[in-house]
């Protein structure tokens, strides 16, 4: 039996600001198989980002179990979570994904460098990925010299370059025009199919939702629907 990429069991999370309690997740259970291309949709405040943060080990659930490749994140220390993120996860955020003082190439190889991958391998892997997603010849540009779409593609390349089990993208197309957003999704789909990398991304853009092979809709911290691309409810 193939190990699930992600498995959530009755995960709850509540934010507290003084006496005020805001429940963000109200008992989420979810399984994601390796190689899925999954979108999480829902209005602002529905819990999409919180869910991605908890799956990525950026935040901890108050209750329930969060398993990534079978490892229970609730039981890992902060250092172990950092190592897991470095070795097995990739992140793409809405914007400002890149370190402004590093070139596109340096940004993309940043995590490889931290993993101690030798320079030749690093260059080879980044160059190959850059060619694959249309970033060739942009290696030495700094983020300020790249368009928003190019910056997001560099961020995807950085997330992909370590060959992670799972890439989490929080509204990666939110700041892009529709053409650029479509191009970015094509890149993500290509990488998903070519490398069988699991993608979980959040969005509230209907066009982006259509590209997902599985769509989870959230509302008020709960899963409202979980639908396969063919329209079949899971």
């Amino acid at each position: 039996m193939t190990e699930l990429a992600v498995e959530l069991k009755d995960v709850k999370k509540t934010y507290r600001t003084g006496p005020i309690e805001v429940p963000a997740l109200r008992g989420i259970s979810l399984s994601v198989a390796p190689g899925e291309f999954l979108a999480i949709a829902g209005p602002s405040g529905s819990g999409k980002t919180t869910l991605l943060n908890i799956i990525g080990g950026l935040d901890r659930a108050d209750a329930g179990e969060v398993l990534v490749e079978g490892r229970n994140l609730q039981l890992l220390s902060t250092g172990e979570l950092a190592r897991l993120r470095l070795q097995r996860l990739g992140f793409v955020f809405q914007a400002y994904n890149l370190l402004p003082v590093l070139t596109a190439l340096e940004n993309a190889e940043f995590t490889l460098l931290l993993q101690g991958v030798p320079v030749e391998q690093r260059k080879e892997r980044v160059q190959k990925l850059f060619s694959e997603i249309g970033l060739a010849n942009l290696e030495h540009r700094r983020p300020g010299e790249l368009s928003g779409g190019q910056q997001q593609r560099v961020a995807v390349a950085r997330a992909m370059v370590t060959e992670p089990a799972l890439i989490l993208a929080d509204e990666p197309t939110a700041n892009l025009d529709s053409a650029t957003a479509t191009a970015l999704l094509e890149v993500m789909e290509h990488l998903n199919r070519a490398h069988n990398t699991t993608f979980v991304y959040s969005t509230h853009d209907p066009l982006v939702m259509e590209r997902a092979r599985r769509l989870i809709r959230m509302r008020d911290g709960k899963i409202a629907s979980d639908v396969a691309h063919a329209g079949q409810t899971l």
Binding site: L58, R83, R85, Q94, L99, P100, V101, L102, L113
Partner: protein, 429 residues
């Protein structure tokens, strides 16, 4: 290691995100080091000059006196006769001759010098002119006439202030009156013990040191003349030793103490024979430490302010790095690297400016006459132009102190970066 280099590279590049701000901060911090170097250079230079002048107008680097002379100044406390010869043989021997510049036996007493016009209390010093020339600066400060000749048996050299007061010129006659030494009962003296003695002297030369206390009170006369007047033939109460280097004072004093063991003498370094001067150095050093502390605090707060602001501005970036798997210690290394890079630039600027200023003050000097205008303080025992002196050790210790201060202070912003909390740091929308 590669990871650390990358983090340092990021830190370095972060500095140049705002080049003008970085350069201004580095310049401010560099000026701190410059001030530190200037202050230390002038302090060390003035101390060196003070010591050089004070020992040559005073007791030399090391002085040998009869036991108790330092405390009482009593004329009766004469050195045992063999001390001068023993000291001479030892200091001119193989072990010491390379550190010795000169030594001069002296007979000191107080007296009254009178001219036809006036009279004044004086500190008389019987000296062997040849030996005194090698030790004292007074022979070099003759402004009229000449210093005593080597084989001169009579005559006197007086200060310009005293000459003015007595209204005498070179070739003029003065009468020196003093009390004969009351030697211990076992010792015979030529003069009547305790009786007032006087002698007629012709002014050989007039000196001007610029030091009121010396120019108005000190007189030099040939040693045999002084010994005859005081009734203590072949006796002295002090041997002043001048060394090539001040730093050898303690070693020479220790060796002489060992050499003269059993004799009723005291061997003192200039710090012991001129304690007021030595204490003023200690006070100077203490004040300097306070000033250096202020400069270091300025440097430290400058680094803290700059780096802390940069860390707080980049909270999202630290969050991003943390999300990618950077551990807290790596975030801290990144900030410390940035801080060290800023410190290195500051130190380079500070060294260039500081050593430039040091070179200027070491060659042209700092002319205090500009501050005091026409009237220099009468108690001035140093040249009015201070020449900066800065040893490599002083430079190294200053640079190290600034570097260590800046490094220690950078730990706070580094800690702030290391404590970047997820996912809070990633919330920007």
């Amino acid at each position: 290691m590669v990871g650390v280099l990358l983090l340092v590279k990021i830190g370095w590049r972060n500095l140049w995100r705002n080049p003008r701000g970085t350069l201004l901060t580095a310049l401010a911090l560099g000026l701190g080091l410059t001030l530190l170097l200037i202050s230390l250079g002038l302090l060390d230079g003035s101390h060196e000059q003070l010591v050089r002048n004070a020992v040559r107008f005073g007791t030399g680097h090391v002085v040998i006196q009869a036991q108790g002379y330092q405390d009482t100044g009593s004329l009766e406390l004469l050195l045992p006769a063999q001390v001068v010869s023993t000291t001479g043989e030892f200091m001119h021997g193989e072990a010491m001759k390379h550190v010795l510049r000169g030594m001069s036996p002296r007979l000191l007493a107080s007296g009254l010098l009178s001219s036809a016009a006036n009279a004044s209390g004086v500190s008389m010093m019987g000296v062997n002119p040849k030996e005194e020339r090698a030790v004292s600066l007074i022979p070099q400060r003759i402004v009229e006439g000449n210093y005593l000749n080597d084989d001169q048996q009579s005559g006197v050299v007086i200060g310009a202030e005293l000459a003015r007061k007595l209204a005498v010129k070179v070739g003029g006659k003065v009468v020196l009156m003093t009390q004969a030494v009351q030697a211990p009962a076992t010792e015979a003296t030529d003069a009547d013990e305790g009786e007032m003695q006087s002698t007629l002297l012709r002014v050989n030369g007039i000196f001007r040191t610029g030091i009121q206390a010396i120019d108005a009170h000190v007189i030099h006369l040939p040693l045999p003349e002084a010994q005859g007047l005081l009734g203590v033939p072949d006796r002295v109460n002090q041997v002043a030793v001048l060394l090539e280097r001040e730093g050898d004072s303690l070693m020479v004093a220790r060796s002489l103490r060992k050499q003269l063991t059993g004799l009723p003498v005291e061997v003192l370094t200039w710090r012991e024979s001129m304690p007021t001067l030595a204490q003023s150095f200690v006070l100077d050093e203490a004040f300097n430490y306070v000033m250096n502390g202020v400069v270091l605090a300025m440097v430290g707060l400058g680094i803290l302010n700059t780096i802390l602001m940069r860390v707080l501005e980049r909270r999202y970036e630290f969050g991003l790095c943390s999300a990618m798997g950077l551990r807290p210690v790596q975030l801290a290394v990144m900030v410390i690297g940035e801080s060290l890079a800023l410190t290195a630039i500051s130190l380079a600027l500070g060294l260039v400016l500081g050593l430039g200023a040091q070179h200027y003050f070491a060659t042209a000097g700092l002319d205090l006459r500009w501050f005091f205008k026409s009237s220099l303080p009468s108690a001035l025992v140093f040249d009015p132009v201070i020449y900066s002196r800065l040893s490599v050790a002083r430079i190294a210790s200053s640079v190290s102190t600034v570097f260590l201060t800046a490094t220690a202070i950078s730990f706070y912003p580094a800690l702030k970066a290391a404590r970047t909390e997820l996912p809070g740091a990633l919330r920007v929308f």
